[in-house]
């Protein structure tokens, strides 16, 4: 029985002139951890912009819970998004950044908002940074604050763009465990863009791999299975960190 949260059909996009992806279709199962893979510059972050409704793709159809991603619920966001660089509001402290969606979309009194903010920040290990400005944080800390903000409204779907890049190995592992726990215990769905092989094998249940040359999805399925069985040299070399044999 399949219950997709995200349905993508015949998606095509590119930047002026250069096509990045053509006619791609896939679905993301509710309650799964879905990973988007591919070489640097193949269009993963760009695809994420379409999935979360920031831009209209050149072609194709995207549905999140049966609706185009930019619509529904009178503007209240239906999912959380963490950007590759965190994208915290520079004039607000870390705590205020996490509080922002709560103030905007709930009627909670300030002390309740404060309580939720501290709890979310503790979850990502940033309880000490609540009163700091984003410019006073390291890249990895900004990213973690971005995740806390993405989780603020308790969405059941969260998009993460490269959560573990820029984190030290220990924090990275803690992060993977946090994602697994949220997924296992609360049933949250995650769509994660990442290059981090260790993390892919640890958390990824399904994946798609984008390829810029062929402008298509070149592999899909369980990443561990793909690693061991794929015969496509591009897929094999990605998972096994080797250089693809170039046919001449």
């Amino acid at each position: 029985m399949s219950d997709p949260v995200i349905q993508v059909a015949e998606l095509s996009f590119g930047w002026d002139g250069a096509t990045l992806l053509q006619g791609a279709s896939f679905e993301v199962e509710r309650g799964s951890i879905f990973v988007i893979l591919g070489a640097s510059g193949c269009g993963k972050s760009t695809m994420l912009r379409y999935l979360v409704g920031l831009d209209e793709p050149g072609g194709g159809r995207i549905l999140v819970d049966g609706l185009p991603p930019g619509q529904g619920d009178s503007g209240r966001p239906r999912f959380g998004v963490m950007f590759q660089t965190g994208a915290l509001i520079g004039s607000l402290t870390v705590g205020e950044n996490v509080a922002l969606p709560l103030q905007e979309w709930t009627d909670l009194p300030p002390d309740a908002v404060g309580g939720i903010v501290s709890a979310k920040l503790r979850l990502v290990g940033l309880q000490k940074a609540e009163d700091q400005l984003p410019s006073e944080l390291s890249g990895g800390m900004r990213k973690r604050a971005g995740i806390a903000r993405a989780m603020a409204l308790e969405p059941d779907l969260i998009f993460l763009d490269e959560p573990s890049s820029g984190l030290d190995p220990v924090t990275g592992v803690e992060f993977d465990e946090l994602i697994l726990a949220l997924n296992g215990q609360l049933g949250l769905t995650f769509v994660v863009v990442t290059h981090d092989l260790e993390s892919i094998f640890k958390i990824g249940q399904r994946c798609i791999m984008l390829d810029r040359e062929s402008q298509s999805i070149i592999a899909r399925g369980d990443p561990r299975v793909l690693r061991d069985t794929s015969t496509d040299p591009r897929v094999h070399s990605f998972f096994n960190r080797t250089r693809p044999e170039v046919a001449t």
Partner: protein
């Protein structure tokens, strides 16, 4: 110190030449190396060949290799065949690293635009920008109507601080500038008026021109330079940092969250600043009147109060509200259209100020004509 490399040009056959390169090629000698290469490469014409003979190279670093490789690519684009030949194994590896053995892609040449083309394009671009500003205004009206319906949804938090930054902090400069303008204008007029014995008329002149025209306009120009530039730079850097995208994904429209509080702040502070600017201008005129036209303070003030009507002052205030709207609208629109990086933020800030100044003068002219037609 003479360069540590040698280059010699050898013509091996009618359409085949070689640059024999030897010695040590490093960044330290890159300047002379480039000059020498450029001098020698001109010897090859389209259809001929000019190779780099590398057997005598002892050492080559990345910078020198990059120069050679880019020269080779340029020769290929000119239709001159060129390859690296006879390199030792170590040098060959560096050649490969810098793409000196790649196939060079042909560049498509762009036809330079002619003046008329450029003019046409600039016109289309300007009209396009105008359309964008108007569309932005439309969005702002919609968003403002939404807030009028449910005032709780507005971002009131930023209003006081923006009013302080745009209003209170600007007060000294606004007052000083308007005082000096009143002073200078009265000085210019004093001599002429004294000649006709019409000394007291300086109060009329200053009173009316300051309240109707100069007070609102000078204040708007100062606020454009301060707050307009600040708004464009703030929103521009938020845009290029992806903060605006993040707001969108949190269901927070930048119009409501960022643009409306700024616009409202300017609309509230500009009339107040303008009233103070009017007073400063009149004060400037008065000092000249008392100093060099033998008027009394009371006489001057009395005359001012007699000739300056409520309409003079209020038409100036109406203009100041329109100016505030224009400043905020153009600055925010320019800021939010920034894309790319820091450089574009700078460009957008400059253009916000320039476009706004132009708009202010235009609005002022149109308003003056309209008020005159309305019979005042």
């Amino acid at each position: 110190m003479p360069p540590a490399f040698t280059i010699a040009h050898v013509q091996t056959s009618a359409d085949q030449g070689e640059l024999r390169i030897g010695g040590r090629l490093t960044l330290a000698d890159a300047g002379p190396l480039w000059t020498e290469l450029r001098r020698l490469e001109t010897s090859a014409a389209k259809g001929q060949a000019l190779d780099f003979e590398m057997s005598a190279v002892e050492r080559i670093d990345g910078a020198a290799m990059a120069l050679l490789a880019s020269l080779r690519a340029e020769l290929h684009r000119r239709g001159v065949k060129s390859e690296f030949v006879a390199a030792g194994e170590r040098v060959q590896r560096i050649i490969h690293l810098y793409g000196g053995d790649n196939v060079v892609a042909r560049l498509r040449r762009r036809r330079p635009l002619r003046t008329l083309d450029q003019l046409g394009r600039a016109t289309v671009a300007a009209l396009h920008e105008l359309k964008l500003v108007l569309a932005f205004f439309g969005q702002m009206v919609v968003s403002g109507a939404g807030i009028a319906r449910s005032p709780r949804s507005a971002n009131w938090r930023e209003l006081p601080s923006t009013m302080e930054r745009s209003g209170a902090d600007a007060l000294p400069i606004v007052v000083v500038i308007n005082f000096l303008v009143g002073l200078a204008m009265a000085f210019q007029a004093a001599e002429q008026l004294a000649r006709f014995g019409a000394n007291i008329l300086v109060a009329d002149l200053i009173g009316i021109s300051v309240t109707r025209e100069l007070g609102p306009l000078m204040t708007a120009i100062v606020i454009c330079g301060r707050s307009g530039a600040a708004f464009a730079a703030e929103l521009g850097s938020m845009e290029v940092n992806g903060e605006i995208d993040a707001l969108h994904t949190m269901g927070i429209g930048p119009m409501r969250y960022l643009v409306l509080p700024r616009t409202l702040a300017l609309i509230l502070v500009m009339p107040m600043l303008t009233v103070l600017a009017d007073l400063a201008g009149v004060l400037g005129g008065m000092i000249v009147g008392v100093w060099s036209l033998d008027l009394t303070v009371l006489g001057y003030l009395h005359q001012t109060a007699r000739v300056v009507t409520i309409w003079d002052v209020s038409s100036g205030l109406v203009k100041s509200v329109v100016f505030a709207l224009a400043i905020s609208l153009i600055a925010c629109q320019q800021g939010l259209s920034a894309s790319g990086g820091a450089e574009d933020v700078g460009r957008r800030t400059t253009s916000a100020v320039v476009v706004t100044l132009f708009a202010l003068i235009l609005i002022d002219a149109v308003a003056t004509v309209l008020f005159r037609l309305a019979g005042q």
